[in-house]
């Protein structure tokens, strides 16, 4: 650590603080590390000396001493999608409330090397815990391979040991709303095939139809964007479906516009249910019936798991957050 010392400007150090406060360097270090074994008066004297000398807390220095930075590392990906961007904000809010910083690194979730490098980057920051967005199975594989030794919570995934909104149950709610309105030909506008959440929603679609003895199946894949929903409209029309469960609200938006442009009215001719309940969905035309995911609750649980015990997260299944159907105006009975 000292090789380059001669090249650096002289900074105020622990030694200076200790001298001014009249304590040992060990004691200063204990104050820095929030060690409980420091008398309050001693602590006050050390803090006063730091203030007087302009001693600057430095995470890099502190991390070398203790590996406690009161920072949660977030490996984020797909930040342009509603769910992940919502989660980042919610994690930050929960962490701040718990007195923790959030350091976010972004990775291309589809690329194992990118994920690996980002986790190493967070590890090098000596974060106390990790929240990893793991939309693809390979992200979970990388996590297992790396075996970081850092308490970790996976989000936006479908691993049952992760904190998650129950995607299968959410999809079943959506399909049930359509079937309850009398629809028998219900199509699914699915998210990308390599996303675990998309896969889980597709299996919920299948499960609810099977439970109701409905034989019609029709799935078209989008990529979460409104554009891909718009482009799916022709295929949906051709299938003769009278209702569509869209894997997210953006695809529902594009689908509705695509159908309307070809003279198909929603909900008079075709009913549509989305997924997420984005802030915009209430103001679509028609206002969108959709499945709400409680990202705030998800983030709260993830942060609590990381800061609560300071230990590795148990691999036992965690009860998922329950999704809720939000009923608006995009569902009607079939003609």
């Amino acid at each position: 650590m000292s090789e380059n010392a001669e090249a650096r400007p002289r900074a105020v150090g622990v030694r200076d603080v200790a001298a001014l406060a009249g304590v040992s360097r060990q004691t200063v270090s204990r104050v820095l590390n929030e060690h409980p074994d420091v008398a309050p008066e001693t602590r006050d004297r050390v803090v006063a000396a730091m203030d007087e000398l302009g001693y600057r807390m430095n995470n890099a220095a502190r991390a070398l001493g203790t590996r406690r930075t009161r920072t949660i590392g977030v490996l984020a990906s797909d930040a342009l999608q509603y769910g992940p961007s919502r989660s980042i904000a919610a994690i930050e809010a929960s962490a701040r409330e718990a007195g923790y910083w959030v350091s976010t690194a972004y990775a291309d979730s589809g690329d194992a090397d990118s994920v690996r490098a980002a986790i190493e980057h967070l590890r090098a920051q000596a974060v106390d815990g990790l929240v990893v967005f793991a939309p693809h199975a390979r992200t979970l594989d990388v996590l297992k391979d790396l075996d970081t030794g850092i308490p970790t919570v996976a989000l936006h995934t479908a691993d049952c040991s992760a904190h998650s909104v129950d995607q299968v149950a959410g999809a079943r709610l959506a399909v049930a709303a359509l079937a309850d309105a009398g629809h028998r030909r219900i199509a699914h506008l699915a998210g990308p095939a390599d996303w675990l959440e998309a896969e889980a929603r597709a299996s919920g679609y299948e499960a609810e139809l099977a439970a109701r003895g409905l034989g019609f199946r029709m799935t078209v894949c989008g990529d979460w964007t409104a554009r891909s929903g718009y482009e799916a409209a022709a295929e949906v029309r051709a299938s003769g479906a009278t209702a569509v469960f869209a894997g997210n609200d953006q695809m529902a938006l594009g689908l509705i516009t695509g159908l309307r442009e070809s003279g198909v009215d929603v909900p008079a001719d075709v009913s549509v249910v989305g997924f997420d309940d984005t802030p915009d969905a209430e103001y679509f035309w028609p206002p969108l019936t959709t499945v709400r995911q409680d990202f705030d609750e998800l983030a709260r649980r993830a942060v609590a798991a990381l800061v609560g015990e300071g230990e590795a997260i148990a691999s036992a299944p965690v009860a998922p957050v329950a999704p809720v159907l939000i009923t608006r105006a995009s569902v009607a009975s079939p003609r």
Copy 2:
């Protein structure tokens, strides 16, 4: 730094790498710091020794030696808004291309203490440069007060020395599109009054009307959300405006739905232009005419400014990124 050494497990250090490679610790340090004065064969020998010993690069350790972490710190805020979330992703992509990491800290942009603490947090990570989202004037004030000494670029602000999309010019494009269609009573659905970008767009609205000698003025304030646009619909109707320049696409969406619910058609009765060109705007009903901001170009410039010279950013004005009008179906001539 050594106070707690006895409590830590023995890790592979520079000393071990130097011994195995048969070089001085100084040389290992130079390799770590990418110093140009190392012979390629020596460098290869040191890297091979690191690999053999499983030496782990540690930003914390490296930062203490050199303050170069190849990391750009991003002080983000308002990540649920389209512009900021888009910028975070674009900065990350540009930085990765330049071989830099991004470490993102979130702050409540309206709260000076929160901004100050987040910047200190990034500074403690020894970042090489800072991108600061400065939507409010007080964020810029905090930046000036702190005087971090770290190269800094402000984004999402209206300071002319910052990298920005020309907000005034964008607003004028929007108002001009409505005036060119024949509208004389053009209202403005503005963003929150304490946002610099909202203020700049409002001044562009005023400037374009003044340049055309149009006397009608009507401004209603929203908060960027679709809900606030929806709630503004009644006031817009009552004003007798035949056209509205909305400060962002979400408010335009809510406004259009609010007008339609009260029997006012867009664009037959009232024309609407938005701002941003979100990916959804093309699929609104009607597809939204709006002003596109090139966030990728903005991020590219910001990163280039930070990594290009490694020096503090000049305070001279930078030519802003030009906005572009995207013409779709939400504007028609007044009846």
